[in-house]
């Protein structure tokens, strides 16, 4: 695929993910939890160690979500970036052991980290009056934990999809030796 076409295709994909996230997924809540597809994709890329040629596009869905839904804007991207970096770093060590267990562990760590950082940042914004309308994101421990489990499961699925797709679309991989064979 030509360079410009690849970028257009990936932007198209990102926009479709955002639309899906903001319209369909909130209607499919399970136990009051809304799945976060943009986060799952970013964490899955972090685990797989496959950096696409257009690596900034991994964060484009979460950045667009941030623009629409950030309180204040940037906190979602920051939480996701920190969780992604931590997971990428941990993946170096964990993948030397059992692969499937490592994917699950890293998914749970990544999603938990994201939620924890985002919760702390939001509370901080609330304390410092940085946000006019901070969201009441924390409902109960039960919903919080179910959310982490369900989003971790989605991350594992996204990971499997990335693993499958990198065989077909070379631009999803920059030629680095993938950690998972």
């Amino acid at each position: 695929m030509q360079g410009a076409l690849k970028v257009i295709f990936l932007i198209f994909l990102c926009v479709a993910i955002i639309a899906f996230q903001l319209t369909i997924l909130p209607r499919l809540t399970i136990f009051g939890v809304i799945l976060n597809l943009a986060l799952a994709i970013a964490i899955a890329f972090g685990i797989s160690q496959r950096k696409p040629h257009f690596s900034w596009l991994v964060f484009m869905p979460i950045f667009l979500l941030d623009l629409f839904d950030g309180h204040p804007v940037g906190f979602l991207t920051l939480s996701c970036w920190l969780a992604f970096s931590m997971v990428s770093w941990l993946a170096y060590f964990l993948f030397k052991k059992n692969e499937m267990a490592a994917v699950w562990i890293l998914s749970v760590i990544g999603v938990s980290l994201f939620n924890f950082i985002f919760l702390v940042l939001t509370k901080l914004a609330d304390l410092l009056n940085l946000s006019a309308q901070p969201p009441a994101i924390f409902r109960s421990w039960t919903v919080f934990l179910i959310g982490i489990l369900m989003n971790s499961f989605l991350t594992v699925l996204a990971f499997a999809a990335i693993k499958k797709l990198t065989g077909h679309f070379d631009f999803l991989n920059n030629g680095q030796a993938p950690v998972i064979k």
């Binding site: 639309a19 319209t23 629409f68 804007v73 920051l78 409902r139």
Partner: protein, 275 residues
């Protein structure tokens, strides 16, 4: 490649990674700074321009899926519900005739007494194009600054059921906070007993009317209306019905659990009221 060369290339790689990490962090912090100062209106409008066709298409198909899902689950109750609705319909028809008569009489009397006739607020019809993906407590609508919307305006359904308030306005879209959100508070009163209080959301799950003096009695099932004390929210918008009253010992205020009138799961078209 010798061991020395490998170590040097690894160091170069990790140095590049560290620079990349802090570079990205700096960009994100700059973004937060811009966002806090309200300098992201242009990117927000571009993002909306790019995503709005998808949002509208997905919202439409999502509505169809949701309706089909609901029909499937409620089919068995349709006959029972139909009978109850027919009964309610005839009762409301009778009530409507009486109210129309009272309204006509009221307007004649107002004219006679020289009182100002209240003009109904201007309304702007808007479509729901998205929902908050974390808590479902925010909605995106396809009308914005260009249509005269400003933060704080009330948003209702076709039958005047209060849905929420506008919190953020961009050129061609706006964000609404639902009344069930934990940060939402609206001055209200009970229709029959005329007791005032504040309606607050509880974690996006239910509504509670607070600040009700212990010595005031309110009935279960009473309708709760907006008081109109807030400049941008008109009076008499329907919030919900009293489900239960909770009074604790040694407290000067009691609470009422309120059942919201609006069905937040099936919102598609909304009206923004401009007073």
């Amino acid at each position: 490649m010798s061991g020395h060369k490998i170590t040097r290339s690894m160091m170069k790689l990790s140095r590049r990674k560290i620079i990349g990490f802090f570079g990205a962090l700096a960009v994100i912090l700059l973004l937060i700074f811009f966002g806090l100062n309200g300098w992201l209106a242009a990117p927000k409008n571009v993002a909306y321009f790019l995503t709005s066709p998808f949002l509208k298409a997905f919202q439409w198909s999502g509505g169809k899926i949701s309706n089909a899902w609901q029909v499937f689950f409620t089919l068995k109750n349709v006959i029972k519900e139909n009978a109850a609705l027919s009964e309610e319909n005839s009762r409301l028809l009778q009530e409507n005739i009486l109210l129309k008569e009272a309204a006509r009489e009221n307007s004649v009397l107002r004219e006679r007494l020289g009182l100002n006739i209240q003009l109904p607020p201007k309304t702007v019809l808007a479509n729901v194009i998205g929902r908050d993906f974390q808590t479902e407590q925010f909605l995106l609508i396809d009308k914005g600054e260009a249509d005269g919307l400003t933060p704080g305006l009330a948003v209702v359904t076709a039958n005047n059921f209060l849905v929420g308030k506008i919190t953020e306005v961009q050129r061609s879209y706006a964000k609404i906070i639902l009344i069930t959100d934990g940060n939402s508070s609206i001055n209200a009163f009970t229709q029959e007993t005329r007791v005032s209080g504040v309606i607050k959301g509880v974690h996006g799950l239910q509504l509670v009317m607070e600040m009700i003096p212990v010595n005031k009695d309110i009935k279960s099932g009473e309708t709760i209306l907006t008081s109109g004390n807030e400049k941008s929210i008109s009076q008499n918008l329907i919030i919900g019905n009293v489900a239960d009253v909770v009074a604790k010992e040694n407290e000067i205020f009691k609470q009422a659990i309120v059942r919201p009138a609006a069905d937040f799961d099936s919102l598609e078209k909304l009206f923004v009221l401009i007073p």
